[in-house]
Symmetry: C2
Subunit: 118 residues, 2 copies
Amino acid sequence: MTTMEYTSALVSSADVDGTNVYGNDGDKVGHIDHVMIDKKSGKVAYAVMHFGGFLGLGETQHPVPWDALKYDTSKEGYVTGITQDQLERAPTRDTNWQHDRDWEQRVHDHYAMPYYWI
Amino acid sequence: MTTMEYTSALVSSADVDGTNVYGNDGDKVGHIDHVMIDKKSGKVAYAVMHFGGFLGLGETQHPVPWDALKYDTSKEGYVTGITQDQLERAPTRDTNWQHDRDWEQRVHDHYAMPYYWI
């Protein structure tokens, strides 16, 4: 652990919702509609992102693991390494996805993100 | 650790905001206005609660450590052991509280809650 300067470490859920998300190339890929919180640990598990016209997907909202987003103060938004290709190939989900650990495992594997529940 | 049945483990930030909070005696003490998320860990750090007329405090919003709240499905709301007396004696904060680790330590000590940043 290196010593980190203590700056603003807290962000309001009200400010997260609606915040833009950019790709590593700097282009805007969408915005966060809302986040999903793991009741047990209190950790944010997913950002449910809205992709407005960016993708040719049948759905316009898509949950991505929270750890795939990093806040960039210079952009006043989040940056993600998730690519359009990854999004298009993401495991499909049904309306019951919040109760579906199998889907959660598949989607975390897909994005190569650690499981938030371990 | 006991084995837990996997039920709905995720809750939307949009659903948390506005949810009622009850005391251990079952009386409603207020509702959650919004939550504050620790950017570094992605963990919810505080519920900023709204106490509508319940307390004779000069301010109507007050951040309480997230771990002091527990969801109760039968109430469809959160239950807290925090008492009115504790709230009235809580360390005062200035507008800069989100940058004030000293205040954060004092408020966690006050409510006997573990520091979320450790």
